[in-house]
C-alpha cells in the first residue's frame, strides 16, 4: 500500500527531469549559487546598479544566443552572428548618419539586413547543401570584410540622430517605476526571448525547428518542404541578430566595424550552458537566457573580485565543459 505514492513521486520527478530540464535546473541552481557566492564575497556585488550592469552586459550576448539557439535546434550552427551584428550596425549607420534618414528607417534597415543575410546563409545550407559550419564560417568572414569596406574601417557615429542612444540606454520601465531603472536594451532582450520562446513552442516554424534537428530525412519524407522551413529559421535568426546590432550600436552610440569576431563563440557558449543539444532537436530559450546570465554574472563577479581578465576567460571555458559533462552524467544515469 505504502509503495504506491512512492512510485508516483518517482514518475513525477522523472517527468520533471526529462527533456533537458535537468540541465536547465542545474544551470538555474548554478546561477543562484554564483549570485549568493559573489554577494558574500563582495558587498558591492548585490547592489541594484551592479545588477543592472549585469543585465545590461547580458543583453547583446543574450539576443545573439537566442538567434544561435534557433539554428542549433535545427541541428545547424551559426558562426556568423558576431560579424553579422556588426554589419547590421554599420548598415544602420550608413542609413542614419551617411544618408541622414529618420530613426525608424534605420531600425528597419538594421533588422532587414540581418534577415537578408540570414536568408543567404539559410539558402546556402538548405539549397546548396553547404554544411552550416562552412556556410556560416564563410558568411562570418564576408560580413567582417564588408563591414570594414563599407565603413572605410572607421566607426560611424550616431551623433546626428537624436534618440538613437535611447534604444539601449533609455529606460521605459524606469519612467514608470523609478526604483528599477532597467535599461531598454534589457527590456528588448526579454521581449525577444518571449517572442522566440513563443515561436518555438507554439508555431509551425518552431515545430519544424525541432523536427529538422531530430530527423531531417523523416520530415522530408513526410512531404514537408524542409528547405524552405530551414531558410525561414535562418532568416528569423538573422533578424534577431539585427536587433542585437541595434542594441550594441545604441550602447556605443556608434557602429564599430572592427568589433564582432568572438561574439559568436560566446553566444554558442551561452546556448550550450543552457542545455541546448548541439546535435539538434532539443533546447529552450529559457535555458539560453540563463546560460547568458551565468556568463555575465561570472565575468562581473570575477571583475569585482579583481580577478585578471585572462583568468575570466579560463573560467568561462571550464564552465562550458562542466555544464555539458553534468548533462552527460545525468543522461547516462537515466539510461
Amino acid at each position: 500500500m505504502t509503495a504506491i505514492p512512492n512510485v508516483n513521486k518517482q514518475s513525477a520527478l522523472g517527468k520533471l527531469f526529462a527533456g533537458g530540464a535537468f540541465q536547465k535546473i542545474l544551470a538555474f541552481a548554478s546561477l543562484i549559487i554564483l549570485l549568493i557566492g559573489f554577494s558574500l564575497a563582495s558587498p558591492n556585488f548585490m547592489q541594484t546598479s551592479n545588477m543592472i550592469a549585469i543585465l545590461q552586459a547580458t543583453s547583446v550576448n543574450g539576443v545573439l544566443a537566442i538567434a544561435a539557439t534557433l539554428v542549433i535546434i535545427t541541428g545547424g550552427i551559426d558562426l556568423s552572428v558576431g560579424t553579422l551584428m556588426t554589419f547590421t550596425a554599420v548598415m544602420t549607420g550608413v542609413v542614419l548618419t551617411n544618408l541622414g534618414m529618420p530613426l525608424p528607417i534605420g531600425v528597419v534597415t538594421g533588422i532587414a539586413t540581418g534577415a537578408f543575410c540570414g536568408f543567404i546563409s539559410g539558402t546556402l545550407v538548405a539549397k546548396m547543401k553547404i554544411p552550416p559550419f562552412i556556410a556560416t564560417l564563410g558568411m562570418m568572414l564576408i560580413l567582417k570584410g564588408l563591414s570594414l569596406v563599407i565603413s572605410g574601417t572607421r566607426p560611424i557615429y550616431f551623433n546626428d540622430t537624436p534618440g538613437f542612444d535611447l534604444i539601449s540606454r533609455g529606460s521605459l520601465i524606469g519612467e514608470v517605476f523609478p526604483a528599477v531603472p532597467i535599461p531598454n536594451g534589457v527590456l528588448i532582450l526579454f521581449l525577444v526571448a518571449a517572442a522566440a520562446s513563443y515561436i518555438l513552442s507554439r508555431t509551425v516554424l518552431g515545430r519544424y525547428c525541432f523536427a529538422l534537428g531530430s530527423n531531417e530525412e523523416a520530415v522530408r519524407l513526410s512531404g514537408v518542404n524542409t528547405d524552405n522551413w530551414k531558410i525561414a529559421i535562418y532568416t528569423l535568426a538573422g533578424a534577431i541578430v539585427g536587433v542585437a546590432g541595434l542594441i550594441i550600436a545604441s550602447r556605443l552610440n556608434s557602429a564599430q566595424p572592427a568589433l564582432g569576431l568572438g561574439y559568436e563563440l560566446e553566444a554558442i557558449a551561452a546556448v550550450v550552458i543552457g542545455g541546448t543539444s548541439l546535435s539538434g532537436g532539443r533546447g529552450t530559450i529559457l535555458g539560453t537566457l540563463i546560460g547568458a546570465l551565468i556568463m555575465a554574472v561570472l565575468l562581473n563577479g570575477l571583475r569585482i573580485l579583481s580577478v585578471a581578465q585572462e583568468w575570466q576567460t579560463v573560467v568561462t571555458g571550464a564552465i562550458i565543459i562542466l555544464a555539458v559533462y553534468a548533462d552527460n552524467v545525468r543522461r547516462r544515469k537515466g539510461n
Binding site: A18, G19, R202, T203, V204, L205, G206, R207, F210, A211, G213, S214, N215, E217, A218, V219, R220, L221, S222, G223, V224, N225, G281, R282
Partner: protein, 508 residues
C-alpha cells in the same frame, strides 16, 4: 475495373547497380498485393518510385488510368499514395502526435499551432488502431514496436487510397500483428489498395490476395495467393529449391558449459534469471516483446549494469562491466537495432567488417593494411552472400537484409566463444535466412555456444537445441526442442506472475 496504380517497364539504376529491370506492377482497389523477393531484389526501390521518393529512369506509371510521375512525397500524397518505410523514420525528440501529423498540423492564424486539436486528432487515429497510447508521449521513450505503430498511424492519417507497407511487422509481436491485419481488412473493405512487403512467409497466406515476385531487379511473375503453395513462391524468389527442414540436434550434454548466469536481476526488467549454454549448443531465448530477453543479453554483454547475480564463463566467475570486457571474455552480441548499435552506415562494407577487430589489420607502425581488409571483406561477402556491387559500397546503400549480414560478418571476425544473436533474421529473406541458420549451426558445430533471441516461433523451433522462455523479466521455463510446440512456448511466454501465483495456490 481500372487499376488504382499501374507500373510498366520500370527501370532504375544506381551507381554500380541495375536495381530494376523492366519491372511491371499493378494494384487494384480493395486488394492486398504482396511484393516478394530476396534482400536487394528491388522491392523498396520500386515502392519508392511509386511514392515519389526516387525518380524512375524509364517506364510508365498510371494512377487511375492517368499518367503520373510524382516528384516528391507531397505529390504522391496528393495522388493518394502513402508509404510506411522499412526503416523507421520518426522524429525522436517530438511527441507521438507531433510525428503523426507532421506537415499537416492543425493551425490557428499566423502559423500558430493548435496543440489540443493535434492531440485529439491523433487520439482518434490511435483509437481506430486500438492503440493505447497518449498522443503526448515522447517517441524516444517508446520501444521499436510501438514506434512502428506510430508510423502506421501516421500513414493512415493521410487517408490514402494506396497504402504501401514495407515490412511493417518486422518489429511487431503476434498480438500487434493481428491488430494490424484487422486494420488492413478494414482498409480493404473501404476500397484501399495495399502493397505489402514482408519476409515472413506465413503472413502472405494470411492476408495477400495476389503476389508479385521480383528477383535481382527483374519481374518474375504475378500469382493468385490462394492457389499458389508457399514453396512455389519461395522457389520463384530464390531461383532454386530451399530446404526448410531442421537438421538433427547434436548431443551436447557432455560438453563443457561455456556460459552460465545465476540469479541475474536488474530492477523490474530482469528478475532472478538463471541458465547455461554448453559449447556447441544453440539456446533459443523466446518470449513476447518486452519480456526482458534483450535486457538479459545486454547485461551479459556488459552494456547495462545488473543489481545481483553472477556470470560465469567456462566455469569462472567474470566481472563484466563494459562491452569491451565482454569481448575480452569471449562474448559477442549482435544488437537487434543494427542502425543504432551495429553499423557505421556512412562507411564502406569493408570498413564496417574490419572495424570489429582492427588490430588484425594493423602493422606494427600503426598503418592499416587495406589489402588484407579487402581480402577478409570479400571472403565474408562470398560466404554470407552479401549483395553489394563491391566491398567499397557504403553500407547505407545496401538493402536492409544485406546490412544485417554485414553485422553478422563483423562478429564472425571477432571469433568469440559465446555469441548472442538478437533477432538475427529480422528483415532477412527466406533464402538468406536458411543460409544464416546453416551458418549458426556451423558455428555451433565448431564448438561455440550460441544464444538466439527471436520473436518468430518457427525460427526458434527450427534453430534451437533448447528453448528458454521468458515472461515479464522472469525465466518461466526451459524446454528441449524435441516435442516442443508453439503452444507450449506461448503458454510459458504468457505465464505472468499473477497467473503463476494462482496456479501455485491451486496446487497447494
Amino acid at each position: 475495373m481500372t487499376n488504382l496504380v499501374e507500373m510498366r517497364g520500370i527501370e532504375k539504376r544506381f551507381p554500380g547497380v541495375h536495381a530494376l529491370k523492366n519491372v511491371q506492377f499493378d494494384l487494384r482497389p480493395g486488394e492486398v498485393h504482396a511484393l516478394m523477393g530476396e534482400n536487394g531484389a528491388g522491392k523498396s526501390t520500386l515502392m519508392k518510385i511509386m511514392s515519389g521518393i526516387y525518380a524512375r529512369d524509364g517506364g510508365d506509371m498510371f494512377v487511375d488510368g492517368k499518367p503520373a510521375a510524382p516528384d516528391g512525397p507531397r505529390a504522391a500524397q496528393n495522388l493518394g499514395i502513402g508509404i510506411i518505410h522499412q526503416e523507421l523514420s520518426l522524429m525522436n525528440d517530438l511527441t507521438a502526435a507531433q510525428n503523426v501529423l507532421i506537415g499537416r498540423e492543425p493551425r490557428r492564424r499566423f502559423g500558430r499551432l493548435d496543440e489540443p486539436a493535434l492531440n485529439a486528432k491523433t487520439a482518434e487515429i490511435f483509437t481506430s488502431l486500438n492503440l493505447a497510447m497518449d498522443p503526448r508521449t515522447m517517441v524516444s521513450t517508446q520501444t521499436i514496436a510501438r514506434q512502428q505503430l506510430i508510423e502506421i498511424a501516421k500513414a493512415l492519417s493521410y487517408e490514402p487510397r494506396v497504402l504501401i507497407m514495407d515490412e511493417p511487422t518486422a518489429a511487431l509481436n503476434d498480438a500487434e500483428i493481428r491488430e494490424l491485419f484487422r486494420v488492413i481488412e478494414k482498409l480493404k473493405s473501404e476500397g484501399v489498395g495495399i502493397v505489402y512487403i514482408s519476409h515472413r512467409m506465413d503472413e502472405i497466406k494470411r492476408i495477400a490476395d495476389r503476389v508479385t515476385i521480383l528477383r535481382d531487379g527483374a519481374y518474375i511473375d504475378t500469382l493468385q495467393a490462394a492457389d499458389t503453395p508457399l514453396s512455389k513462391i519461395i522457389q520463384l524468389m530464390v531461383g532454386r529449391e530451399v530446404t526448410q527442414t531442421a537438421p538433427d540436434i547434436p548431443d551436447t550434454s557432455d560438453n563443457a558449459v561455456a556460459l552460465e548466469v545465476r540469479g541475474l536481476s536488474r530492477g523490474k526488467d530482469v528478475r532472478d534469471v538463471s541458465f547455461n549454454v554448453r559449447k556447441g549448443e544453440i539456446l533459443g531465448l523466446s518470449g513476447l516483446m518486452g519480456a526482458g530477453r534483450t535486457e538479459v543479453a545486454r547485461i551479459i554483454f556488459g552494456a547495462d549494469p545488473h543489481d545481483t547475480g553472477e556470470i560465469l564463463v567456462s566455469g569462472q566467475p567474470v566481472d563484466i562491466r563494459s562491452p569491451q570486457m565482454a569481448v575480452q571474455a569471449g562474448i559477442g552480441y549482435l544488437s537487434e537495432d543494427r542502425k543504432h548499435f551495429g553499423l557505421a552506415v556512412d562507411m564502406t562494407v569493408r570498413a564496417n567488417i574490419a572495424m570489429a577487430d582492427l588490430t588484425q589489420f594493423t602493422s606494427r607502425t600503426g598503418v592499416l593494411d587495406e589489402a588484407a581488409m579487402k581480402r577478409t571483406a570479400d571472403q565474408y561477402i562470398n560466404q554470407l552472400g552479401i549483395r553489394t556491387p563491391s566491398d567499397t559500397q557504403e553500407v547505407r546503400l545496401l538493402s536492409g537484409g544485406n546490412q544485417q549480414k554485414v553485422v553478422i560478418a563483423k562478429w564472425l571476425l571477432r571469433d568469440c566463444d559465446v555469441l548472442i544473436f538478437d533477432e538475427p533474421t529480422r528483415g532477412i529473406d527466406v533464402g538468406a535466412k536458411s543460409e544464416i541458420y546453416a551458418l549458426l549451426e556451423e558455428l555451433a558445430a565448431q564448438g561455440r555456444a550460441i544464444i538466439v533471441i527471436s520473436s518468430e516461433l518457427p525460427e526458434i523451433l527450427r534453430l534451437s537445441h533448447r528453448i528458454a522462455v521468458m515472461c515479464e523479466g522472469r525465466l518461466t521455463g526451459i524446454l528441449p526442442r524435441e516435442g516442443a510446440t508453439q503452444e507450449e512456448i506461448m503458454k510459458l511466454a504468457t505465464q505472468t506472475e499473477n497467473l503463476a501465483d494462482k496456479t501455485k495456490e491451486t496446487t497447494q
